[in-house]
Each structure stands twice: as C-alpha cells, then as structure tokens.
C-alpha cells in the first residue's frame, strides 16, 4: 500500500528534476495519483529550472563602500578586546616587578649610604628609580602598538 510520505518523496524527486531510483519508479508505476501528477511535475521542474535570476553588476563595490564604517568599528572593537586581554596579562607580573625593584632599591640605598654621602646615594637611587619607571612606561606603552601591528599581520597572513 502506498503512503502519503512515499507519494511526497516521489513527487519531490520529480519536482527536483532528479531521476527516480528503482523503488521510486515502482511506486510511480503502482500509484495512480502520482502517475497522474507526473507530467505536471516534470513541467513544473522544467519551469523552475528555467528561472534565471540576474545579478546586480556593482553589488561588491557598493557593499565595500557601505560596509567600510562598520568594518572600521569592528576593527576598533577587536583591537580593544585584544588590547584589554594583552594589557591584563602584562599587568599580572607588575606588582612582583615593583616589589622586587623596591626591595633592590632599599638594599642599594643601604649599601650606598654606607660608603657614599647620603645625598649622593639618594641621587643614585632616585636616578635608577626614574630609569626603571621610564623603561616600564615604554614597555607598557608599546603594548597597544605591538598588539595592533600583530593583529594587522595576522589579518594579512590569513586573507591577504
């Protein structure tokens, strides 16, 4: 006995313009309703297959133009996200670096003040402190630039 789903299966195959396998062909032979629909479905399949859709000519150019501000916003968002992640990671060892430096400076000052005048010891320690602060500032200041450059290189490698 033929079921509705078998009929649907055969009719869909005919509508899609595919060839019938043995099982479906047997069903078509045995089912008067499907046999009746067969020529109509073949015509329909031809009609649908003949439907050609023209493509707009300058869609890519228009899209690139319209999407430019949105892409720029995406780029800013992605850079910020990466930046926050990288700076977060970079800040993790900072307390340790500062604590270690403070300890070294105290030790250095104690040692220097034993052999040099206090003012000169203080000057040398402060000089070193300024140098360390400058280096840390430069290192952390370079993070955004390096991150942006790295992201740009990644993009160029992936799709360039």
């Amino acid at each position: 006995m033929n079921t509705g789903s078998e009929c649907d299966d055969v009719r869909e195959t005919l509508l899609f313009g595919r060839s019938l396998d043995a099982r479906r062909a047997r069903h078509l032979d045995a089912c008067p309703a499907c046999r009746d629909e067969h020529p109509v479905l073949v015509t329909l399949a031809r009609t649908l297959a003949a439907d050609a859709v023209p493509l707009p000519a300058d869609a890519a150019v228009r899209l690139q133009r319209a999407a430019a501000p949105l892409l720029a916003r995406n780029a800013r968002r992605a850079t910020w996200r990466s930046l926050v992640r990288v700076i977060g990671l970079a800040l993790l060892p900072l307390p340790l670096v500062v604590a270690l430096d403070a300890y070294l400076l105290r030790m250095a000052y104690a040692w220097l003040s034993a052999v040099l005048p206090d003012t000169l010891s203080l000057f040398l320690v402060l000089d070193y402190t300024a140098l360390v602060a400058l280096l840390l500032t430069l290192a952390y200041g370079a993070i955004p630039l390096l991150t942006e450059r790295q992201l740009r290189l990644q993009r160029e490698e992936s799709y360039g």
Partner: protein, 187 residues
C-alpha cells in the same frame, strides 16, 4: 583556503578582504534567495542590508553553526519585514491566484527586470512562487534552489522538520494545481 567561519571571524575583526571573499562566495545564492522571495522587488537593497547586518553582528556569530544557515536566517527575517511593509504591486499581483498565469506578453511590471523564466508551457516560475504563501515559498526556494536539506531548512526557518515536510507537501499540491490551471489557460 579559509573556511566561512574563519572569514566571518575576519569580518568581526574588521577585515575587508574577509568580507569580500564571503560576498564572492554567497552573493549569488543570497541574491537569488531574496529575489525569489520578493519577486525581484528591492532584492538589491535587501541583499545589501543582509550583508551589512552580517558585518554588524559578526562578533556575535556562533562558530559552531553554519554560516550559510545564519546568512539565510538574516535574509529571511529581512524579507519577512519587507513583506510586512511592501507596497502593493501595481499590476499583475502574484498573490492573486488568477493573476498568476496571465500569458507573459508584457515585461514584468513588478520587477522591471525582463525575463521571468517562462517555459514553453506558458508557466512562469516567479509567478508560481509568488502564488505560494510566504512560509511555503521559503521551503520551496531553500529546498529546490539552494539544495538545503530538510534539517537545514528547519533550522533556517526555526520550525520543526515535520513542519518543513508538511509545508513542502502543501506547496507541491498548490504548485501542481496552479500548473494545471496555467496549462489549461494556454491556447
């Protein structure tokens, strides 16, 4: 070669080349989908808006899903919105069953885009599709023209697989009835 999912990741980081590549891959299927959904009216603008939405929402794309499913979902939502606010057709409205099979002697007034894919039997694919309710048309367009499986169609339409089957069944019945009606009208 970059996968669609890699490319959408690139779009999320603002890469124009990734968008260009995605657009090159899916420009045709997307445009055809929208064109058949709207009968050609505003398909250009809807396709552009679909891509812009893709760019806007790229960072929210779930990489465990297929890009095409997501793309067609966006397009489908836009075309539904379009159907809600579209102005009526000036002549030969495809939703009027009787108007679906007027011999194609004049240019398509609705789309103004020339050939409508009429066959020697006098049937016209675009008018046949226009005569289907929107839900059935989506299923036929996705299944027939885009080779989507029933599961994919169900995911795009956000309905159970059984609903897709039943819509396809009703669509086929309607199409065959219209085709018979159209054939009888031919001289």
């Amino acid at each position: 070669m970059a996968t669609d999912e890699d490319l959408i990741g690139g779009v999320a980081s603002g890469d124009p080349h990734a968008l260009e590549e995605l657009h090159r891959r899916y420009e045709r299927p997307l445009y055809q989908f929208l064109y058949r959904h709207t009968g050609g009216r505003d398909a250009d603008d809807l396709a552009q808006e679909t891509w812009l939405r893709v760019v806007r929402a790229a960072h929210r794309f779930d990489r465990s899903r297929r890009f095409t499913t997501w793309l067609f979902q966006i397009a489908l939502n836009l075309s539904r919105d379009w159907h809600r606010r579209a102005p009526p057709l000036p002549v030969g409205d495809g939703d009027v069953p009787g108007a679906a099979f007027q011999p194609d002697t004049a240019a398509d007034g609705a789309s103004g885009l020339g050939s409508t894919g009429a066959t020697d039997a006098g049937l016209d694919a675009r008018r046949l599709l226009a005569a289907l309710p929107e839900a059935q048309r989506s299923v036929v367009v996705l299944r027939y023209f885009h080779d989507c499986s029933e599961d994919e169609v169900a995911e795009i339409l956000g309905c159970p697989r059984g609903t897709v089957k039943s819509r396809m069944h009703h669509a086929m019945s309607r199409l065959t009835a219209l085709a018979r009606e159209g054939g009888e009208r031919m001289p």
